[in-house]
Symmetry: C2
Subunit: 139 residues, 2 copies
DNA sequence: TACTTTATGGATGTATAAAGTCCAGATCAG
DNA sequence: CTGATCTGGACTTTATACATCCATAAAGTA
C-alpha cells in the first residue's frame, strides 16, 4: 500500500515541468534535476505521452511539454497513465473468479478504500501541488 | 498501491473467526476454510498474537481466539500488526534525508492520501464488515 | 547530403521484497 | 508418555519493480 517509485518519478517530473508550464524539457534535464535514472525516465515519459498528458518532439531542441495547463492535470490521470486503473486488490477486477466469492465481507472495505483514494487523487491537480508547496510536518 | 496478499489473509482469517467470536480455531481449520497456505498463515497469526489481537493456546484442543469483540477490532490495527505503520512513501519516515527536500510539492498529497486511508481503516471494524456482507458491484 | 540531437520501442538484466516452505523445540491435555 | 498444536527461526522460491542497453526513427542544422 505504497506509492511506487515509478509514480513518484512521474509526479516529480510533471511538477518540475509545471514550474515553466509552456516550456520544453528534454529527458536529460529532468533526469538530472530530479535525480531519476535517465533511461528509466524515458520509459515513464512514453506512457505520459501515450496518455496525452505531455507531447514530445524529436530532434535537436526537442523534448517534452505539457499538453494541458497544470490546473487541468490531476493525479488520477497520472496514476492511471503509469500504473493502469487503481485497484486495491486483484479480485476487484471484473471477470475474476474467487472461491470465496459467496461470503466475502472484506470486498466492500477495499472498495471503500479505493473510492476514497481515487477521490483524493482526482481532486488534486499539479497546480494544487505547486501552491501547497510547503512541506507538511510528518512527525 | 494495493492490498498485500498477507493483509488479505489476515483480514479473511479474522472475519472468519468473527463469525464465532468466542470460539477457538486451529490453524488447520482457518487455512482450509480460507484457502491460505498453512505455514504462511502460522507466521501471520504470530503477528496478530504479538499485537494482542488474538491469543493462542498450545497443545491438543489449542488454537487461536479473538482477544476482543469484533466490534472492538478495527482494520487499522490489523494493518499495523501485519505491515507496520502505514506510510505512503518512504521519505515520510522521520529521519529520512532527501536531496529534494527543499521544494517538494508532492509530499503533502501523499500525506493527505495516507490520512484518508488510515481514517477508512480505523473506522471499519470486523463487525462492520460482517454486517456489510453483501458484495459490492465492482463493475 | 551528411551530421547531430533527441525521442522511441523492445529486449534484456538485476535487485528486492513478498510469498511460501521447513523443521526442531516448547507446551499442554489426556 | 503420546499426540496435537503453536513457536521462532532459517531458508527457498517467485514475482515484479526497477533499471539498463541498443538499434532505429525523426527532425533540425549546415
Amino acid at each position: 500500500m505504497q506509492v511506487s517509485r515509478t509514480l513518484d518519478y512521474a509526479v516529480r517530473s510533471l511538477t518540475y515541468m509545471s514550474r515553466r508550464p509552456v516550456g520544453r524539457f528534454n529527458i536529460k534535464e529532468i533526469s538530472e534535476n530530479q535525480h531519476i535514472p535517465l533511461n528509466y525516465l524515458a520509459k515513464i515519459m512514453r506512457r505520459l505521452v501515450n496518455k496525452g498528458i505531455v507531447r514530445s518532439m524529436v530532434g535537436p531542441d526537442g523534448g517534452y511539454a505539457l499538453r494541458k495547463s497544470p490546473a487541468e492535470i490531476n493525479l488520477r490521470e497520472i496514476y492511471e497513465a503509469v500504473e493502469g486503473e487503481l485497484r486495491m486488490i486483484d479480485c476487484m477486477d471484473k471477470g475474476t473468479i474467487c472461491v470465496l466469492y459467496e461470503n466475502c465481507p472484506q470486498i466492500s472495505v477495499w472498495d471503500k478504500l479505493q473510492i476514497s483514494m481515487v477521490k483524493v487523487l482526482q481532486d488534486t491537480t499539479l497546480e494544487d501541488m505547486l501552491n501547497q508547496n510547503t512541506r507538511v510536518d510528518v512527525a
